[in-house]
């Protein structure tokens, strides 16, 4: 993990394509920052659980076209890397800049694209429907205002997100459709690629606390060290399955 792996670039590119990356203005602007050097990797700890494909019956997916049946809630690569882990690094005192244009969250062949997205506070989201049937966008934020609207074929809805939050977005008509939208109070973040690697741009020299979150595996933390020349020692973070039931913290 010394250099940028091909996979991470591909993953990053795919991500950028599906979802307008808001971090352009930040790239390379900070002194001594690391630009697109791999920052680390998230791997699964323990026996790899079996993830069944979604069972979607025809009645429910009428009008969808061919629906991708991969369960995106837990994707573990052959090398144990976990995809769709959200990594954030908050730097005290840094101002957070939101992209000027709305960030698109699309609904395509009855799936949300991307499955996990992260944006800085203040971003406007455009919930788009590229399908030929209606979807309802139902968001479940804890801090921002909720949204539950029918979005017809080809239509879209926009909403500005002003508070740090972790929002699940669902379509009630198609119960398998869900997406996670993370509103971060920072511009330093990443979503891990298919092999579990992630890259965070623009970190200044010093020690940083990185927070990890995955929808099924919960939370983790790691320290990222950036030296004076802006080089980073890649970290490896392990996450494992949570115990079922008992959602209380003791």
């Amino acid at each position: 993990m010394k250099n940028i792996t091909l996979a991470s670039i591909v993953a990053g590119a795919a991500l950028a394509a599906a979802f307008t990356l808001p971090s352009q203005p930040v790239l390379g602007t900070l002194k001594g920052s690391v630009v697109l050097a791999e920052t680390g990797k998230v791997v699964f700890d323990g026996e790899k659980p079996e993830v069944k494909p979604l069972s979607i019956d025809a009645a429910k997916s009428e009008g969808c076209g061919t629906v991708d049946t991969q369960d995106q809630s837990l994707i573990i690569g052959a090398n144990g890397g976990i995809a769709n882990v959200v990594v954030t690094v908050e730097i005290a005192g840094a101002t957070v800049k939101a992209p000027e244009k709305p960030v698109v969250l699309d609904q395509k062949t009855c799936r949300f694209e991307p499955h996990v997205a992260i944006v800085p506070v203040g971003t406007t989201i455009e919930y788009k429907n590229s399908d030929s049937i209606s979807h309802n966008v139902h968001s479940y934020p804890s801090k921002n205002e909720g949204l539950n609207k029918m979005v017809g074929a080809g239509a879209s809805e926009t909403q500005k997100l002003d508070k740090e939050d972790r929002i699940e977005i669902k379509c009630d008509i198609h119960p398998w459709m869900n997406s996670w939208l993370i509103v971060a109070n920072t511009n330093h973040y990443a979503v891990s690629g298919a092999d579990g690697t992630f890259t965070i741009a623009g970190l200044p020299a010093g020690e940083h606390k990185a927070k990890f979150w995955h929808e099924k595996l919960g939370k983790a933390e790691a320290t990222i060290v950036v030296d004076a020349e802006g080089k980073v020692a890649p970290v490896e973070v392990k996450m494992s399955a949570e115990k079922k039931g008992g959602g209380r913290k003791r």
Partner: protein, 1188 residues
């Protein structure tokens, strides 16, 4: 005159004596006059005058400081301008007034016409129904009826149209004249205040008076002249309609209390000392606008005491405690007035007086008179009225289970232990303890009787009571020969039963709180919430009841006990068997858990001893039969011990009154044993036996408190026969409960108020009856009836808003309970630096709309008020999201906690109604809450058609099949279901003006000041309307309505509980629509079915939607009979402001509007309209109903 020497006395000495005595007599006459004139109340009046002067001076200074003169000039100009405007428009105004006159006449005619047509329709319909029934032809004469119906509907719509026309003219006129009215008003308000104060000061303050005024002021109160128009005078009210009993006659009350209590009926003296202070609740009492104005009600009807006395002691004032009593004795020579039968009530018991008038509206006063209402509810719950008659008490229900087939349920061993001490097994039971009462008159160790008419040995309290328990047990068993129940038709499964019990609703009324200590597991059913204490705690119940009985009880409780409050949950045999298996097998350690050292056992006493004590009891309780007779039986038939037990048991059951609460064969017509309480509050204190208990002998409250606290203590140290001893059992009330019950009983007085009795209006009577039904059936356990509130500080100001807390972190899937301490503890645990609430009723001053998020820092949180109802929601959501948390005390740390759900092994989840196990634990809370938990009833009256509502209560149908919680089939008393429906309708109507105003302000997206200005209101009045203040609503709501009319704002209309015609189904409406848009119903169908795709989630004529149960929604076929049209319209436009959090999306909220391919060139409003029409004519579209 010289001494002539012919008298035996000295004239000159006598003269001196005469002089001296005449001086003394003169002095005493003067002294007497002064003393007679200078009464204590005059001192109070002079002091009060000083207080008033200083207050008036302060107010004057305040008013002049603000530059009032400048303002006055400004206002005068405005008045002039307004007058000119009217003069300029005089012709227009005259013309409008003429139009108004004509419109009124026309409207009156139409109203009469509509009334006639309506009654004609009703009459014809009635005749036709009779005829149809008679001839067996259900469609007979339909055509004719349709014609009449059409006529009626036309008349009604014409009436509406004319009403609108009249209102428009009203607005037109008021537009012209309003400026003058408001300018004049503003002018008078500004200057009036100061003018009034100055006027008052001239009357009060001698420094503000002219010299002649000063002189007059002094002379007015001079002795001998003060009969003309004195300043100092006795104030009195003569209360024609309120009487009291004086020596066998009814006498009018005359209250003079406000001779000294001068500030009592006036605002502004709140902080002053007695006797000058304002009454703390002027909104309810004394003020002329309150429901109890001084000149109609006086003071003593509530406070008691002597209203005609003008002296502190003679008024029979009541010290609050011994300290004050001592102080008063020293200061005022206070002593109780022994010949006055109505001593003043101590302030903590004043609420007692509410009962004498409000017997028929005890529920309505529960908020303003919480203590006495609590007492009333306790009397109801503990069944005091079953032994102690209260003639007007609204229920006669027996509060204990029927014992006629007791043996099918209980063992004799359990019965015996239970009678011995019910609270030992079930600490929260309302069954009282009759035996072995510490400090009671059969206390262990105390000698009760010397046996054999004083010849034998001393029998001690413990053995006496033990023998009594054995006898009663034997008697009850004898009277309830076992009628075996059929065995369970299927075998149950405990694992499945656990989930069924959780989700059917059992824990809405029952809990499993452990004995004593705090629960370790965070399971909500282990905590007592009030609502889940409606039925008994179920801990240990498997050791109490038999399996077969439990099964049959669950299937239909009324089979065993007709009067039970336990409803029928319509469980299938399998479901009932599963719950039975779960309870009896008890895998979780709840249902076989009994208190330490508790064991079901019969009385353990050697037979000879038992026989001896029972014989003695027989001698006392059969004494009337004669000694010879009793001895003969003891030698004869009672040699059989079991017969002796049954015979004595029967006497004891009669003695203790067990039959009042429990149905026991053979006792159904026995008379209750307790003292009647109907007018106990009028009993004078000398009729009470205080025994040797040291209590204040002057007042009854202490006696009653003692009676409730230690019911038999008045027998202490007395020598009494066993048959004479006090029998009242020990209930274990808390001090607070004792006080509440005492307050209620003190209030049960002879009827003194026949003439002034409060008869609630029909609306209020319906509210009261409905509130009682809602409480007695515990509707609030499952349904949230009123949202809770949160009070927080913002910029130094406290705000209170109806809101519900949101979870603080993903680790907390289900939000915290509603109390400040718990919320703050959770905030610390989850490291939340900000609490999130969701606003459920927007309040003025907080710029948040319905459903908006509100953020409060934990240290700014001041108070919360729990929602009324809905505790059970937490049980459901907690189970879906966390499973059941079990605690194993033998393990340590996290290992001690385990979690179970409906799945077994690795499978986690809950069985949905389609039989599939699904894991909902990571679903969003809102989704689980709104889909699987019982619905809220915030504004149910505005939502449901009243007729449908009460037929639903009588005959429950499944509306949301995905919910596993059952809406029970209740055993309603006659009229109860109707009362519940009426209650919700009235409640919604009461809240309607506030909701309407808020909805309009929020729709206009204006803050209060802007909106108030637009509606020509002041901001304070607007705030009061929005907060539901009755007076403000009456005065100013019409302005909001006029504003709404002018702006074309539409929202829900108030509910008409009597009858609501469905406009969207009426022929007239449909004909009119057809002429405008021929295919409007088909367009509605196209938008709903193909555009919105309603049937993805909603049931259609009983057919489930393709979605999973978590997305299911009610059958659209029911809309037309169930829901009010106004409500459905609001719901379609924006569901999230009706139920924040609901899964129903806003389907018609896009710009530009969607579904143009289904309904070309349509607006969102057009679409809502056709969908509404489609919904309300669903039967005509799909069910072949006639009428199209």
């Amino acid at each position: 005159m010289a001494d002539r020497g012919d008298t035996h006395y000295s004239v000159s000495t006598l003269n001196k004596w005469f002089l001296l005595s005449s001086v003394v007599i003169l002095f005493s006459v003067v002294w007497m006059m002064i003393d007679d004139w200078e009464r204590p109340w005059k001192h109070y009046q002079r002091d009060f005058r000083e207080i008033e002067i200083s207050k008036a001076r302060a107010k004057e200074a305040e008013l002049t400081a603000e530059g009032a003169a400048a303002r006055e000039a400004e206002l005068a100009t405005a008045v002039k301008a307004a007058e000119e405007k009217i003069a300029a428009n005089s012709a227009k105004l005259a013309e409008a007034n003429e139009r108004l006159r004509l419109a009124k006449g026309e409207l009156w005619k139409t109203i009469e016409d509509a009334k006639k047509k309506k009654s004609a329709y009703n009459w014809d319909r009635y005749i036709l129904e009779e005829k149809r029934l008679h001839e067996g032809n259900p469609t007979l004469g339909q055509e004719k009826l349709d014609v009449i119906e059409l006529e009626m509907n036309q008349a009604m719509s014409q009436q509406q149209e004319l009403e609108g026309k009249k209102l428009a003219i009203d607005i037109e006129i008021s537009d012209l004249t309003r400026d003058l009215d408001s300018a004049k008003k503003a002018l008078s308000v500004g200057s009036r205040d100061l003018e009034q104060i100055r006027k008052r000061l001239v009357q009060l303050d001698r420094t503000a008076m002219s010299a002649p005024e000063k002189l007059a002021d002094v002379i007015r109160d001079a002795p001998g002249l003060d009969f003309v128009k004195p300043n100092l005078k006795v104030n009195k009210v003569v209360l024609d309609r309120l009487t009291f009993e004086l020596n066998f006659t009814k006498k009018k009350r005359i209250d003079m209390c406000h001779t000294c209590h001068l500030g009592a009926d006036r605002a502004g003296f709140e902080g002053e000392a007695q006797p000058y202070t304002s009454h703390p609740r002027l909104d309810l009492y004394l003020s002329s606008k309150s429901p109890h104005p001084l000149n109609e009600f006086g003071c003593t009807i509530c406070h008691r005491g002597s209203g005609e006395a003008l002296d502190f002691v003679r008024a029979d004032h009541r010290p609050t405690d011994m300290g004050e009593q001592k102080q008063w004795s020293e200061e005022y020579h206070w002593h109780k007035q022994h010949h006055w039968d109505y001593p003043m009530l101590a302030s903590e018991f004043t609420e007692a007086s509410c009962v004498q008038c409000h017997k028929t509206s005890m529920e309505l006063i529960s908020e303003d008179a919480p203590t006495v209402s609590k007492g009333y509810q306790l009397v109801e719950r503990y069944g005091c009225y079953t032994c102690h008659k209260i003639d007007w008490f609204p229920t006669k229900r027996r509060t204990g289970p029927n014992l006629q087939n007791m043996q099918a349920k209980l063992t004799p061993e359990f019965v015996s232990s239970w009678i011995t001490d019910p609270k030992a097994f079930r600490p929260t039971t309302w069954m009282p303890q009759f035996f072995h009462i510490e400090g009671g008159n059969y206390a262990p160790g105390e000698v009760v009787a010397k046996s054999k008419y004083g010849q034998g040995r001393n029998i001690e309290g413990r053995e006496w009571d033990d023998a009594a328990i054995a006898a009663i047990t034997a008697y009850l068993v004898d009277r309830a020969p076992l009628k075996p129940l059929p065995p369970m038709p299927v075998e149950g499964d405990a694992h499945r039963g656990r989930e069924t019990m959780r989700l059917s609703g059992c824990f809405a009324c029952h809990n499993l709180a452990p004995y004593g200590e705090e629960p370790m597991a965070a399971d909500p059913v282990l905590a007592r919430s009030g609502e889940n204490e409606h039925g008994p705690n179920l801990r240990g119940v498997a050791t109490k009841v038999t399996k077969d009985w439990l099964f049959h009880w669950l299937k239909d409780p009324t089979q065993y006990w007709a009067d039970t409050r336990m409803p029928n949950l319509r469980l299938s045999d399998q479901e009932a068997a599963d719950i039975t298996a779960y309870i009896m097998e008890d895998p979780d350690g709840y249902f076989r858990d009994v208190p330490e050292n508790w064991k079901a056992k019969l009385v353990d006493m050697p037979e000879t001893q038992l026989r001896e004590v029972l014989s003695e009891q027989a001698r006392w309780f059969f004494a009337r039969d004669g000694r010879a007779q009793v001895e003969a039986r003891l030698e004869g038939e009672w040699q059989d011990l079991s017969k002796l037990k049954v015979a004595v048991g029967e006497k004891l059951v009669g003695n203790y009154g067990c039959f009042s609460c429990h149905e026991i064969a053979g006792t159904l017509d026995w008379m209750p044993i307790g003292v009647e309480l109907t007018n106990w509050g009028s009993k004078t204190v000398d009729k009470l036996d205080f025994g040797f208990v040291k209590l204040d002998p002057n007042y009854r409250e202490g006696w009653l408190l003692q009676k409730l606290h230690a019911p038999r203590s008045f027998d202490g140290q007395k020598i009494k026969n066993p048959s004479e001893k006090l029998r009242m059992p020990y209930f274990g009330f808390t001090a607070e409960q004792e006080q509440a019950i005492t307050t209620f009983i003190i209030g049960l007085v002879d009827d003194e108020v026949q003439l002034a009795k409060m008869e609630p209006t029909p609306d209020k009577a319906a509210m009261d009856k409905g509130m009682r039904a809602v409480r007695q059936n515990n509707c609030a356990a499952c349904h949230m009836i009123e949202p809770g509130t949160v009070t927080f500080m913002e910029n130094g100001v406290a705000h209170t808003v109806a809101a519900e807390i949101q979870s603080m972190s993903e680790d907390q899937k289900v939000p915290s309970a509603h109390d400040v301490a718990a919320i703050k503890a959770d905030a610390e645990k989850y490291e939340a630096d900000e609490l999130t609430f969701r606003v459920l009723r927007p309040e003025p001053g907080v710029q948040k709309g319905m459903g908006d998020k509100l953020f409060v820092a934990p240290d700014k949180l001041v108070a919360t008020r729990a929602p009324h109802g809905g505790d059970f929601v937490r049980v459901v959501t907690d189970y879906y999201m966390n499973g059941i948390e079990l605690f194993d005390a033998s393990k340590e740390g996290d290992d001690a906690y385990s979690y179970v759900s409906g799945g077994t092994g690795d499978e986690w989840g809950v069985f949905d109604v389609d039989g599939k196990l699904r894991d909902h634990s990571s679903e969003p809370y809102d989704k689980v809450r709104w889909t699987f938990a019982p619905p809220v009833l915030w504004d149910e009256g505005a939502k449901l058609q009243r007729d449908w509502f009460f037929s639903f209560l009588h005959d429950v149908v499944s509306l949301r099949p995905q919910i596993r919680v059952r809406m029970p089939s209740f055993q309603y008393d006659p009229g109860e279901a109707e009362a519940i429906a009426d209650y919700f309708a009235q409640k919604s109507n009461k809240e309607w003006p506030a909701n309407f105003t808020r909805a309009m302000r929020l729709a206009a997206k204006q803050d209060e000041a802007t909106f108030a200005k637009a509606a020509k209101l002041d901001t304070v009045a607007l705030g009061e309307i929005e907060s539901g203040v009755e007076m403000a609503t009456k005065a100013n709501f019409s302005k909001v309505l006029a504003h709404a009319q002018a702006k074309g704002f539409e929202t829900r209309a108030p509910v008409n509980p009597a009858y609501e015609a469905s406009v969207l189904r009426s022929k007239a409406y449909l004909d009119a629509r057809k002429s405008m848009l021929a295919n409007h119903l088909e367009l509605g169908e196209a938008v709903a079915v193909k555009g919105v795709n309603c049937f993805q989630c909603h049931f259609r004529l009983g057919t489930p939607p393709p979605a999973d149960p978590i997305a299911w929604a009610p059958d659209l076929e029911r809309v037309r009979e169930r829901l009010r049209e106004d409500w459905v319209r609001d719901w379609l436009i924006n569901p999230a402001v009706v139920y924040p959090g609901t899964a129903m999306p806003a389907n018609f909220a896009s710009t530009p509007p969607q579904y143009q391919d289904r309904y070309p060139n349509s607006s969102n409003d057009d679409q809502v309209r056709v969908v509404l029409e489609w919904l309300y004519n669903f039967d005509r579209m799909y069910m072949g109903s006639p009428g199209q």
